[in-house]
Subunit: 714 residues, 2 copies
């Protein structure tokens, strides 16, 4: 019947508009039951459950068997980590996998059979699930005693496939790979030619005294290659050239040539290439989002125009305002937008909407929310008005900054004075007293500002919220201190009472005060620009960060599997320790031990930090010299791969994105310095609005006619 048809059309329009809002693809089934399933699948609850499942399955690694989630990282001191019984983590894992099975079935059903075969991501998803479930069964049948668990390395895939942004970014990175591979090839040629040169140059001589360089760095091909590879990362610079250099200064030419070509030219060329490839990346991605939005709205228009109540019009199709209102009421969207669209629909006061009018109504979605601060309270009394003027004035804020600076300086002075004192000699009176005074000032400042601006207006500024929150915390801490330890007096050094010692309390207060000093940021123009750029960057980098997490997770799990039991802490086995101790090359010995130990127990922060310097690789080369065994060879390959992916490629991607963001922002700042008073809630889309191209009607209609499930009459 027409009633059912009409209901279907309305439902379709609702879903299409929701797709447009969320920048989703509209290529899904559009019959009534599927639409219900679709709305259920994309409901907040369902998506939240999916995210939670992904988080849980990724977090499992922290409590699974070769886990190291203890407070200290030092194997000598730390307690054994909690060892969950066999079946506990496995059953959680099964639960997660079952959720994924449901997810993949719903997704596959919704996009339809034909589309399914074209979608490589879904196929890979199903394959991953099958492998994971098989591995899970194998694992349980061995009673959790098996050594290799493939499914752990596959886990980050679930994170990857759930985010369209990450998939898009991966595609983009993929297209840069040929150029990157060229530079990496060039780098490899550079490295191998110089290695041969080095081996010929620093050959073994008959005089044993003269060949220090050969001994230490160029003993054979793998050593030479490693030395120069590490030089490329500058980790062993200038150590590697010292022996040769002290023999003859001319040898420095070799190392300088290598560094200039490899480090200054080729490495920076990689930055240039990646920047060049990514220059249009953000714009392209925003452009395709815009297209999806326009397409969703157009699809909604088309299905609404097929409603039976609309008068047949040969030339143009129209949508009745009533139908649109009905759709809007049922669609889930930001209430501010919904109201704005409703209002302009009423103001338009036309009964029939053309496609252009329809599209125009929804432009509200693209607009920035201009943030309006609530007004200050209007006081009657003349005195109060003067107070309001004085404490609402920016100068009062500046005074607050000056006081905060004075506080910082006073803390700094006390720190410098107390630096060499024994803890028992320390007197907390001075710091206690001045902090007490400053915190009282902060409280007063907050209260006066609230008085002048009213609570609502005060809270509408983020800097005030930051300020106020810290002031309240500081006040609570201070009151707690006084309650436990009494008021400060000379020689104020009471013993520990309660949770924290007085010294810790004072330190905490000081740290919060240092942190509170960040409130000066919005007052400095350049700083504010930098901070907003950084915040924008963080938004744009989410996809990149996600991919980094994926790579990171895979690397960490591989590392655990490769190096499990490779290194035993000092004192446990005499073999390893003696080998380490009686080696002639024991530079940085305890550090080396520490690092080996931490690697063994999968120390993510250190691995991450080593991203920047490649130093772990250097230490592994030392270890390699110490004990030539298979595991260390693996370690070398593992770290070179890690260095290439994280340090070389990821850091360069980051630089490229930063350049892109910053240059765009900088240009904008110069163009519209006058508008800077208005606070916008900026999104990436808005940043590029001036450059974006609106899709044409033909493009939209062509795409609509290619829809696999929606069959438009015309």
């Amino acid at each position: 019947g027409t009633g059912t048809d009409n209901d279907l059309y309305i439902n379709q329009a609702i879903v299409f508009i929701e797709d447009a809002i969320q920048y989703r693809s509209i290529n899904h089934r559009v019959d009534s039951r599927s639409l219900g399933l679709y709305r259920w699948y994309y409901s907040r609850a369902c998506q939240w459950i999916l995210s939670l499942t992904i988080t849980v399955i990724l977090a499992l690694a922290f409590i699974e068997k070769p886990s190291s989630l203890t407070i200290t990282s030092d194997v000598r001191y730390r307690l054994p980590a909690w060892d969950p019984p066999c079946g506990l983590t496995e059953s959680i894992e099964l639960l997660c996998l079952l959720v994924f099975v449901v997810d993949v079935s719903v997704k596959s059903y919704l996009i339809g059979w034909e589309e399914f075969w074209k979608n490589k991501w879904l196929m890979a998803y199903i394959l991953t699930l099958i492998v994971s479930l098989t591995d899970w069964i194998v694992s349980l049948s061995f009673f959790c005693m098996e050594t290799v668990r493939i499914r752990r390395i596959l886990r980050p895939f679930f994170l990857l496939q759930n985010s369209s942004m990450m998939k898009k970014t991966l595609k983009s990175i993929n297209s840069t790979l040929p150029e990157m591979a060229s530079v990496l090839l060039l780098l490899a040629v550079h490295l191998s030619l110089f290695t041969m040169f080095a081996m010929l140059l620093f050959a073994r001589t008959k005089d044993g005294q003269q060949d220090k360089e050969w001994m230490r760095y160029f003993r054979n091909l793998p050593d030479s290659l490693t030395s120069l590879l590490v030089l490329l990362t500058t980790a062993n610079n200038p150590d590697v050239m010292i022996p040769a250099y002290s023999k003859n200064r001319a040898y420095s030419i070799f190392f300088i040539l290598f560094t200039v070509l490899g480090n200054l030219f080729l490495m920076n060329l990689l930055t240039a290439i990646i920047y060049n490839q990514f220059r249009g990346y953000l714009l392209k991605s925003v452009q395709s989002s815009l297209f999806r939005r326009r397409l969703g709205i157009r699809a909604a228009f088309e299905v609404l125009s097929s409603l039976k109540e609309t008068p047949a019009n040969a030339q143009q199709s129209y949508v009745s305002a009533g139908a649109l209102q009905q759709v809007l009421q049922k669609a889930e969207m930001d209430s501010r937008c919904k109201q704005a669209i409703m209002r302009s629909l009423e103001m338009c006061s036309c009964d029939q909407l053309s496609a252009a009018q329809f599209q125009k109504l929804f432009e509200e979605l693209d607009k920035d929310a201009i943030k309006q601060h609530p007004p200050s309270p209007g006081y009657q009394s003349h005195f109060m008005q003067k107070m309001q003027f004085a404490f609402g004035h920016p100068y009062f804020g500046y005074l607050g900054n000056v006081v905060a600076l004075a506080n910082i300086i006073s803390i700094c002075v006390v720190l410098v004075i107390d630096a060499d004192k024994q803890p028992s000699e320390r007197d907390d009176f001075f710091l206690g007293a001045i902090n007490c005074f400053f915190i009282l000032y902060y409280l007063l400042e907050m209260l006066l500002k609230i008085l002048a601006m009213g609570l609502k207006r005060y809270l509408s500024y983020p800097s005030n919220r930051f300020d106020g929150l810290l002031t309240v915390i500081l006040l609570v801490l201070e009151i707690a201190t006084f309650a436990v330890y009494g008021f400060p007096h000379p020689g104020w050094r009471p013993e520990l009472m309660g949770l924290l010692s007085l010294w810790d309390m004072v330190r905490l207060v000081n740290m919060l005060i240092v942190f509170r000093f960040l409130r000066i940021i919005p007052n400095m123009k350049f700083m504010a620009l930098v901070v907003t750029t950084l915040l924008d960057l963080v938004k744009n980098l989410r996809a990149f960060a996600g991919i980094l997490v994926v790579v990171f997770y895979a690397f960490a799990i591989t590392g655990i599997m490769l190096f499990k039991g490779a290194v035993v802490p000092l004192g446990n086995t005499s073999n390893t320790s003696s080998r380490l101790i009686f080696c002639p090359l024991r530079v940085h010995l305890d550090l080396l031990l520490d690092e080996v130990v931490v690697l063994h127990s999968r120390e993510l922060p250190i691995l991450w930090l080593s991203l920047v310097t490649f130093r772990l690789m250097f230490f592994y080369c030392l270890l390699y010299l110490l004990s030539v065994n298979l595991i260390c060879r693996w370690a070398k390959i593992y770290f070179v791969a890690w260095w290439l992916i994280s340090s070389v490629i990821w850091v360069n991607l980051f630089v490229a994105l930063l350049l892109e963001n910053f240059i765009h922002k900088w240009d904008r700042r110069c163009h519209r310095a006058s508008l800077s008073d208005v606070e916008y809630q900026r999104t990436v889309e808005l940043m590029f609005r001036d450059v974006l191209e609106e899709p044409t009607e033909e493009e939209l209609m062509e795409k609509l006619h290619q829809h696999p499930h929606l069959h438009l009459c015309r």
Copy 2:
């Protein structure tokens, strides 16, 4: 009389055209005598003498008293450097300074009194000369025993003021300083806030075992600041966080936050800012060069049009072709350009030239010289023609590359096999035999190519010149080897005869073969692009490199003055050595000693390489911990300054220029891939030709009327 006037005008035109060719300013005196002086001053001989003088005065530092120009850098082994008698270097210096006095007088006279007062560079030049001469007199009156020599630090100024490119670049860097200063301020704020945080976080505890982190890195304010500053350069990462991290994993958050904010964000922001500022730099500089050229040509036109022989024309001024020919014959310029202009002047066959025609004639100067290779010889015999086809074919070149690769691989294999052998066990037969074979092949290849292409055509390709030269050198070396040591046979291990041992000869041959392998570069498309980008970059970087040399020289001289006698080699004084040996922190002890020693004796290559890693600073901090004295404080400040200028600012400038060059080149490559067969002799000007704006007639005339010495009638 008119004849004298005419001569003057002709001379003026000649000088203006020479100015245009050399992109010089035309704002100089234009009377007859001054023009003679001007042409003499800018003659090749004069400019060569000036450059030589600058080189000599800069090179003096290598033989002056605290000199270290010995083969080895190790103070324990090296012989004392040559100590020139007092007065030798000083008299050379005086000679140089007198040349500079002449230079500055001529320059000042030529630009005229009024212009002189506006020219700050000239004033600074005179001031530098006065200070240098005064210092020279003081030095001689102390019989060269004075400790501080200011004039040495001032020397690089002579290099700076002689290059207009460097002055322009310096101005450009200067305009970037405010933005850079903002980021550096931000960096300083970041550093100081985190230092305070660190001092509060890693405070001394009552339990002595627990505060390793405090002990090693955060003992007091200077130490904390240094630790974090070095962390910013990643030189002590992740060492600095190990003690805290092994106490509690959560401490890593502090270090990760610091690294992410400081290293990933702020440091890269500096790159972004410098890139943003320098994006237009090259274009602007090329644009102003173009303006100078057009201005010079226009000035020549204007003076020639005032010649009495020209018929008076109220509307437009004209220049007779005869006068232009006269000027062209006397002007010094590239003979190819001169001929081309003469030819087009004849082809034009007009007696009177308008300004536009005149300007158009000189456009030949801007054109690229399209390189034409001489034709191959035409052979009569059918067999020779077939030979020519076969050996002139690119595949023959590829075969040569394959053979060169095979040679490289064979050398590599021998190196790997011989790596662990004692020098006495080595047998040179195998390498000798295969190298003999390969060199014969290279000779044959060269001869066949010459046969196919003819000698002239063969030599017109740079890759062939490179190839041929190396082949000839290899042949000479091989013949010399056989002449001295006989033909290779198994067990070929003769003793040393003549200059080089057989082993050294073989090594040299091998190195040359590895070097010859670079001939593959033009055959790989991407490699060729990269190499041409690098060559372009080197051209554009000359000014930057000059400024780096200036800064470098000043730093090196300051370093010598500050650290003279600061460190005494091991064994000479028991005091220093014992202090170093009995220190609890003696990590990398001999390395540290080496470095102290090398710094003491001003080791430029190490200082240069430390640019990239900042490691010297790290070692100096260690030294600082070892022996707290004033000199080490100076060392710290000195190295931080060096790091900021060379590593942070210069490297970022380099990256910015590389990005600019590469992106421009890449775009061009994509646009005109079809034209890539034609070899251009590329200049920076040509790279930007499509984007350059021609100056308008009004701009040129306005500038001409502002000329301080030339008074045009109209």
